[in-house]
């Protein structure tokens, strides 16, 4: 039996799964990410450094802040520029608000319908009106946080290499803190809702990789760590990871040299640094009985919901302690090279640039979370199908789609 799920719906971008089952065994499985390439790394060549954040923002309509922040950090490193501590804090607020927004969309609109045998978020009405109202309320509040410093929630404009062109007033910050306070309970409700979904059983063997910092839940910077002993500075990225072209996919696929697949994203982060979570998130996780390590890739959904609780609480604390000054220090151009890694909503994101002395891009390389997860997703799809191999075709297709969605892949990002 040949199965071709040629258009996986409710994920970001375009991809398909092709598989072949013969006499109760899975013969072949391929994840074909056929999203047409846009060649960002190709046309960034000869553009000026200060255009780069605005350009790379357009890689993704969900995580533009991640692409901008990663590019900005890589370029600042190339120029030998160190941003002010206030700027570092504001970038973390931006990142956290975007992580919460992204997880909300994924959990409510993309993943949730599967577990109630619905096709889309629109079918959630009238049965799940409460949930939809909660989603809209929370999404608006976290969008306002991103927009507070960026000018708008998507493709923010005030975030530039060097800092921020404009900062909000103390009053505006206070208003947003109050709004965040009003959704704290909704975050806990979201986690309860997600933890009650009937997740299939599956055990992941991929290596968990993420960023780790000395204090706090590392998002925008840190060393690269894994549960199999990776512990390196971000500049050593290429010594451990390798990206390959795949004949059947427009997205490239990354592996850990000499080992194999890796898993990045919310579940990987919790498995690596649960202890660093905000106390509110730890408490909420405890309430639903979540413990680490958790090796079920479907539980990436639960991990995302825990990160929603974390993101809101940490945002509030960071906002409360802001100084709102020294936001944009002029920088000096020089020839250089910079690699930066951040935790995008879907996991580890790498940007790498070579610039000349006029600040013109000579070379660009971008490795996205979905490229990092590609091999792990294929491996776990194979395992999952073997588990359900005697089920009806429709059931196998649904289970496959559910696992793809659990990874929350961004095919658009992966074929930047």
């Amino acid at each position: 039996m040949k199965l071709n799920i040629d258009y996986i719906a409710r994920v970001e971008g375009e991809g398909s799964v092709k598989l072949e089952i013969e006499e109760g065994t899975l013969k072949d499985l391929k994840l074909n990410i056929w999203e047409p390439p846009r060649f960002f790394e190709g046309f960034l060549h000869k553009r000026r450094f200060d255009e780069v954040p605005d350009i790379v923002a357009r890689i993704c309509g969900i995580c533009p802040v991640s692409h901008m922040t990663t590019a900005i950090r890589a370029l600042e490193k190339a120029f030998g520029f160190v941003p002010s501590p206030e700027v570092v804090k504001i970038r973390k607020i931006m990142a956290l608000s975007q992580i919460v927004a992204s997880h909300l969309i994924h959990l409510y609109m993309l993943a949730f319908p599967d577990y109630h045998r619905l096709h889309s978020v629109t079918q959630m009405l009238p049965g799940f009106e409460l949930e939809i109202r909660r989603l809209i309320k929370m999404k608006e509040v976290v969008n306002n946080v991103t927009a507070l410093f960026g000018g708008r929630p998507l493709h923010p404009v005030a975030m530039v290499v060097g800092g921020f062109t404009q900062l909000p007033s103390r009053d505006m910050v206070g208003k947003v803190i109050k709004e965040l306070e009003s959704i704290k309970d909704d975050a806990v409700q979201t986690l309860r809702m997600v933890s009650n979904l009937p997740f299939p059983d599956l055990t992941n063997d991929s290596e968990y990789v993420g960023l780790h910092g000395p204090s706090g839940y590392a998002i925008n910077e840190g060393i690269i760590v894994s549960n199999d002993g990776i512990k390196i500075e971000e500049d050593g990225y290429y010594s451990v990871f390798k990206e390959d072209e795949v004949s059947y996919s427009n997205a490239k696929r990354t592996h850990v040299k000499g080992r194999g697949s890796l898993m990045v994203g919310a579940l990987a982060r919790l498995n690596l640094k649960f202890e660093m979570l905000h106390p509110d998130a730890k408490k909420a996780a405890e309430e639903i009985g979540f413990t680490v390590p958790d090796h079920n890739p479907f539980h990436n959904n639960i991990a995302q919901a825990i990160e929603i609780v974390h993101g809101i609480s940490e945002c509030m604390e960071l906002l409360d302690g802001l100084n709102l000054k020294d936001s944009n220090i002029p920088l000096k151009l020089r020839e250089g090279e910079g690699i930066a890694l951040t935790e995008a909503p879907r996991g580890l994101l790498c940007h790498h640039y070579v610039v000349n002395r006029k600040g013109i891009i000579e070379r660009a390389n971008i490795i996205t979370p979905t490229a990092h997860n590609f091999m792990s997703l294929e491996e776990n799809l194979r395992k999952l199908i073997q588990q359900y191999i005697n089920e009806e075709k429709e059931e196998i297709v649904l289970k496959c789609e559910m696992l793809v969605r659990a990874y929350d892949p961004c095919f658009s990002c992966s074929v930047h």
Partner: protein, 215 residues
């Protein structure tokens, strides 16, 4: 695609089509959608002015592709273009990200059976409405506001930086006059070209001006 299942064959009352044309099969799909749709709106800069992906058109196709893939045999990309260059549309919902006001205008105009009334003036007007100090005249920033379609609420100048034209060119934009002004402030030809090829590099409004400064 936010729904699994559904009715991919149509017919449709309204279609909102986003994205830049980057592979030939998309033209076929686009024409099929046009045939089966009463009202087709282009939504977002990619669909209307080529957006960021159209920067690729400013450089030799093969060179750009080679920088990304060593093996180009599975790659079937073509020169990026707008959707409005392939099919007739019933209106443009401009912006990157697309503007809320024009999206609501498009949908309500169809519902009430009237022609949509989209914003068709420059970002400059929005700065005047907000009583912003002109960042181009007062601070010498290379602002694209005078040639860029309104809709963002003059977001960049309001945030103390020059507009970079993410809404794309406005109708009858006098791009060459603005380029001359940039030139007079000492901007290099390379920087002027980059200014007019960030968004809208495949539009006649910006393309001609960029070509004048290409070396």
């Amino acid at each position: 695609m936010v729904s699994s299942g559904g009715t991919p064959e149509g017919p449709f009352d309204i279609a909102l089509v986003e994205g830049t044309i980057t592979e030939a099969w998309q033209v076929y799909e686009l024409k099929k959608i046009r045939e089966r749709t009463k009202y087709l709106f282009a939504i977002g800069s990619c669909a209307i002015n080529g957006g960021i992906p159209a920067i690729k058109s400013t450089q030799p196709e093969l060179e750009v592709q080679k920088r990304v893939y060593a093996d180009l045999s599975p790659i079937h990309s073509i020169r990026p273009d707008t959707i409005v260059s392939y099919v007739a549309v019933d209106g443009d919902i401009k912006g990157c990200p697309p503007g809320e006001r024009d999206l609501i205008e498009a949908l309500t105009s169809v519902l009430s059976g009237r022609k949509p009334d989209f914003l068709e003036y420059s970002v400059c007007i929005e700065c005047k409405i907000k009583t912003n100090i002109c960042v181009l005249v007062a601070h010498g920033m290379p602002c694209m506001g005078p040639v860029t379609n309104a809709g963002c609420g003059a977001l960049c100048p309001t945030n103390n930086r020059p507009c970079y034209s993410c809404w794309g060119p406005m109708k009858q934009a006098n791009a060459s006059a603005l380029a001359k002004l940039f030139e007079s402030t000492g901007m290099t030809p390379e920087d002027i070209v980059r200014r007019f090829t960030l968004f809208g590099s495949v539009t006649t409004e910006f393309r001609k001006t960029a070509e004048r400064y290409e070396t």
